[in-house]
Symmetry: C2
Subunit: 587 residues, 2 copies
Amino acid sequence: MYRSNNCGELRIADIGKSVTIAGWVQKGRDLGGLTFVDVRDRYGVTQLVFNMDENADLCTQARRLAREYVIQAIGIVRERSSKNANRATGDVEIEVRELNILNESKVPPFTIEDETDGGDDIRMKYRYLDLRRSPIQSNIIFRSRLALETRKYLDSQGFLEVETPFLIKSTPEGARDFVVPSRLNQGQFYALPQSPQTFKQILMVAGLDKYFQIVKCFRDEDLRADRQPEFTQIDCEMSYVHIEDILNTFEGLTRHLFRQTLSIELGDFPRMTYDDALRLYGSDKPDLRYDMQFVALNDVVKGKGFSVFDEAELVVGICVKDIAEKYSNKDMKDLTEWLQRPQIGAKGLVYIKYQEDGSIKSTIGKFYTDSELNSWAQRFNAEKGDVIMILSGETEKTRKQLSELRLELGRRLELAKPGDFKPLWVLDFPLLEWDEESGRFHAMHHPFTSPKKEDIPRMLHGDHETMKSLKADAYDMVINGAEIGGGSIRIHDRTLQSKNFDLLGFSKEEAEAQFGFLLGAFEYGAPPHGGLAFGFDRLCAVMNGQSSIRDFIAFPKNNQGRDMMIDAPSPVHQDQLKELGLELKEK
Amino acid sequence: MYRSNNCGELRIADIGKSVTIAGWVQKGRDLGGLTFVDVRDRYGVTQLVFNMDENADLCTQARRLAREYVIQAIGIVRERSSKNANRATGDVEIEVRELNILNESKVPPFTIEDETDGGDDIRMKYRYLDLRRSPIQSNIIFRSRLALETRKYLDSQGFLEVETPFLIKSTPEGARDFVVPSRLNQGQFYALPQSPQTFKQILMVAGLDKYFQIVKCFRDEDLRADRQPEFTQIDCEMSYVHIEDILNTFEGLTRHLFRQTLSIELGDFPRMTYDDALRLYGSDKPDLRYDMQFVALNDVVKGKGFSVFDEAELVVGICVKDIAEKYSNKDMKDLTEWLQRPQIGAKGLVYIKYQEDGSIKSTIGKFYTDSELNSWAQRFNAEKGDVIMILSGETEKTRKQLSELRLELGRRLELAKPGDFKPLWVLDFPLLEWDEESGRFHAMHHPFTSPKKEDIPRMLHGDHETMKSLKADAYDMVINGAEIGGGSIRIHDRTLQSKNFDLLGFSKEEAEAQFGFLLGAFEYGAPPHGGLAFGFDRLCAVMNGQSSIRDFIAFPKNNQGRDMMIDAPSPVHQDQLKELGLELKEK
């Protein structure tokens, strides 16, 4: 037996017991005749004590222990004279009788403390040491718990977890696939799934009724910050449901997860249409932890000689509370410059300060009277001390810019309180997106999404322009401005699915080659069905108030798609390629 | 709302309720003025009734329904006049007021009943229809339940589920990897994991203490019957454990699973060394549902003029109970021919019938007296009516042949009773296996397996012959003759691991290139650890008394590694290959 107890569980009640513990040396301290060693494992830290007067050999041995040595200590639990209230085991220590070194350790390349001195690259290379740090280890433990609670809840609702295959078929639609050459079928390739979408629909046709899976998915994309080539979804599908059934089920799941893991009651989720989300927040995933709804000003700003507004398709602003005094001219200039960076691309920022003394300060005083500017304030419910910030230009771009400004102000003013969670359903997404560049429609959600029932006749018989106005039975779950999940009611009718492929530019042959099995399945009694997928990595991060998913993944890849610890990808033997019937192309 | 109730839940207590159900048409029957339609979903079958006298239109509509149509029926629950005791809903039926066809169905290519007329290929192609059949659907439901119970139990024991990466590094040791070309790192490849072995060990070095994962693994092997290129493991690892801790933990898990899903109490698992398993059953995974232990006869058969035995390295037999009368000469001849097929390769079968009348009939009466043959009977505890069957030859081959004979007799005599489960731990496997052909050692379990502590000095300093006798801290869990799980205590010391790589024929450079990260990790405080992996597909099949894993996998591949439903693998676009820097080799 290596241990009778772990390093996190000894308490006052254990005093006098003979125990054996094992773990890593966190640190040692020599105080006169006494040596203290903190020993750590996943469960906590326990203090060992060695007495030079009582056992000089053992104490000398303890003094030679270095950080991260793996030790086993046998001794008696006793009460500490100076207790440590910050530690669960802080009332006791172990008076050691026997000490065994189970393994030694070189000096770690960075400190294994909550705050480390290690940079990203070295922490990725020595991921096993980074994972020993309490903040990362807590993330991994949280993730494990969240997965289990997800499964328990979905099981309680009658969902079955069904494993779908990883070696599937490459479909050029959507993001780029990772492909896997087949040795037994030379010249042919499997693809790794970007999601189990078609398989979960097939499971509904198969009558499984309620499916879920916590499952790895793969996308061979150029990696932007905080994207991973492999990521995890909570993937779900239900039969015989309308949109309301799905929203209720997964709102229930999300409430359950927050309750069980964070003891937070989320209440009912508000709902907002996609059109409203864009109109009021300039984003299809608004962060509702703070206000600053958009207010359009077109009807009051035009025709006063200010050509910027006169020529703009949209003039729209937000009201920022209580910063009229706090934000100096320099602050406003900073903000303007931030907006003018190419990433945002705004031409400039118009603002109106409603100062505490009742006066108004603005960048457009030349064109508008104080009385006009005061009347605008009413639209925003602006009060003394507030500042209205206004952008103008082409509608879509301006909304995006103002949304960025709103989020940036949220960050700069620290408007989002830790532990505050604001969930939201965004509904009624468009079915299709017109892409000017390629001159074709893209699926806003994916090609299997059903139009709203009332839009089906227009979809089947409408003209090109009509298609742009079709709405889908698609929905996103948004929490604190992050898209946590998304889904839709699916098409379950062969004709409608074929029409959708047609609109998306598939030839009949392409549709048949890629999705013939699904079209075929729709002819053998496909039930109405729909579903949703949560981004599990993102959910973990958002629930912990963190913006990066990387430290919720045990072994993440870097921005070049490399695993720095194992050094993958890597060249393979020529023999392996030969067996696969492949050769590397000359560069 | 598509339904108020599913097709499996209406009972006598629901009589008089107005309900809405939805599902698939199982079958219809027209009986005079009444039409009955059975409607089916995952939960059961419910009878609908339509009355021609009361509503001729509706009844006519019902008579047009065909098999596998998806319908919704609204009506009143009423008591059936002729009840069906074989069906949970058999006391009631729904008197239908409104009928809606949600989707039509072509005539399915095979019958969707417990016993189907569909062959393997067509069932694979239309997997969504095969999955509607109750026996397959039950398997998938069982699998889901087994996975959840596994997770609940391991969670209760402090295990964390941690996801390990799928895009890892190719290592030529062991089975063949599936590789994934990297676009961002042209000319380099990821590999899909054959198991998360090194990652779970890294998690132990990282201090995660107890890890598990239900995870897909991949092997690009030539597919023998009932092998899948992707398969699922319950993968586990623990720190600070001796072999006893691991056996107890996973015996506990297995008992829990049998109790929760089958209401079967397994009791304590017997244990047997690898050497004993081979000696007594000729197999490292003996089926203990029946007896027929091997008894060696070398000491009593030699020197009596029977050259076959005289020249044999091993003469060994089993006692088959109560078949002396039942098995005719022809039956014995059949069995002999079965043994002589090239797959088994026995030269012949010697048998001794202890007949009910006290006489002895044998194929070797020329060489041995009845008194001698009677004395052999005592060794086997053979009684009147029993037959001793004896094989001879080279030890290893003869044991294998006799093991096959034992299993074949188990099948022919139906000695294994349905619902009987005989678990077993097989312990003390050899560390290394000498491969004559390649002239090198192979790891019996895998290269990370620890030798038994007492064998470490011999491993570090012994000669070539010594290596063949090293025993490992490795163990297999066997149930009913199937290997359900296997694992080992791992090496956690860099020197010992390097020595093992050395013995396995790795150069220093190869070991460093492939497993440098693990060797490195062992220098930073690696704790003692060990683990085990269950074959999850196999476990599902064995627990249901089935020999094939295929119907416990929602979307299995065929023996050529093809998914017949989606038709994968398939050719990919030339552009995709170009992006990956690959070209197909001319044939």
